[in-house]
């Protein structure tokens, strides 16, 4: 009896295997014929390492590049920063009150592995892409702003005013929440985020945290770097060196 069962099991295994072999190329061809590349994969996790020693006090180039690349007003078109302008990235000045040491660093969405904004979103608009980038799907966003409350980094902005003349690659609109997308449209084209490219001192190192051979993984292995509010256990993708 058991012998028969084993044979039956073998037969089923082989036929399932054969079926998979027969179907798989068809599916690949289907994908190819429909001109679709593969979806982003969790083998990659995009991240940044920010070297505070190279970040100059008073320099605002990364923020300006972010505003320009994503079509945010950022005080450029509106004649000064309006109180309701979106802010995806900002410079933060820190000072040790005892020692007097000052630091300047860029602050933006930290692209957490366990993002609180995604946890609280009632519509599933806030989501984390397979490659670790935390985004807002504005087709689903109802503008409730729970995510803005939940974010420990104050990274998100709400669009209060009607917008015109958006960047065709970066759709944005009134009534939705938005934040740093790590320039997802550039990453998908194989480019670096605008801030990393614009930094004159190369203080922002962008790369794949999951690839042990990448420059960023090597640096994180060899130099001391911290996550902001690491105590929250969110495992952020943005790390700071010399904080």
């Amino acid at each position: 009896m058991s012998n028969i069962n084993v044979q039956r099991r073998q037969f089923l295994k082989t036929s399932v295997g054969l079926a998979a072999v027969a179907v798989a190329p068809g599916m690949l061809l289907f994908e190819a014929a429909h001109g679709q590349s593969a979806a982003v994969s969790s083998k990659v996790r995009w991240g940044m390492l920010i070297d505070t020693a190279n970040c100059t006090d008073g320099c605002n180039d990364c923020v300006a590049a972010c505003n320009k690349g994503n079509g945010l007003a950022g005080g450029l078109n509106s004649g000064g920063l309006s109180p309701t302008d979106s802010q995806w990235m900002r410079k933060v000045e820190l000072k040790d009150m005892r020692g007097g040491r000052t630091l300047s660093l860029p602050m933006m969405c930290q692209h957490c592995e366990h993002p609180p904004c995604v946890d609280v979103c009632p519509t599933g608009a806030s989501f984390k892409r397979a490659d670790g980038i935390v985004l807002v799907d504005r087709h689903r966003c109802i503008g409730c702003r729970y995510c803005m409350m939940a974010c420990p980094y104050k990274a998100r902005s709400f669009v209060h005013e009607p917008l015109h003349d958006q960047n065709p690659d970066v759709p944005r609109g009134k009534g939705t929440v938005e934040s740093c997308t790590m320039c997802v449209q550039r990453i998908d084209r194989g480019q670096q985020p605008a801030c990393a490219e614009a930094c004159p001192n190369k203080a922002i190192l962008f790369g794949n945290l999951n690839d042990p051979e990448s420059e960023i993984a090597r640096r994180i292995r060899t130099v001391a770097s911290v996550q902001v509010r690491a105590d929250l256990g969110l495992n952020t993708a943005i790390r700071y060196q010399g904080l």
């Binding site: 001109g35 679709q36 593969a38 982003v40 087709h139 009607p162 003349d165 958006q166 944005r172 009134k174």
Partner: protein
């Protein structure tokens, strides 16, 4: 009853199908569309909604049914836009059918090259 419904359906057939009053559209560059134009008139929204989820959620950006591709071919050669005028490619038809388009509250209705030049 069925026959009555059928007659009603015939009467409700859009007039472009019957070949009478058709909204005159500025189709921009035009050329070979990704699907048959008549089929596209009926189904473009399904293609766009599917493509948008693939792009936003999975990062697939080279699908052929993208809104940007529509705009690239169909934006007017006069003002590089698919909205804004009564005969603009998207707006003209949507106005005729009395269907509101939400796309362009966030998305740019302009051709990318024209947008880049204006910056």
């Amino acid at each position: 009853m069925k026959a009555f419904l059928f007659i009603l359906l015939l009467a409700a057939t859009p007039s472009w199908a019957a070949g009478s009053i058709v909204p005159k559209l500025d189709i921009g560059k035009g050329g070979q569309c990704v699907e048959d134009p008549q089929w596209m008139r009926k189904n473009h929204m399904h293609l766009l909604i599917r493509q948008r989820d693939e792009t936003v959620r999975k990062g697939i950006r080279d699908g052929k049914y993208s809104l940007k591709n529509c705009i690239e071919c169909h934006a007017s050669l006069r003002d590089d836009s698919v909205i804004g005028r009564d005969d603009s490619f998207c707006q003209g038809c949507h106005r005729y059918e009395a269907v509101k388009i939400d796309c362009f509250e966030c998305h740019s209705g302009k051709r990318k090259s024209a947008w880049a030049q204006s910056k």
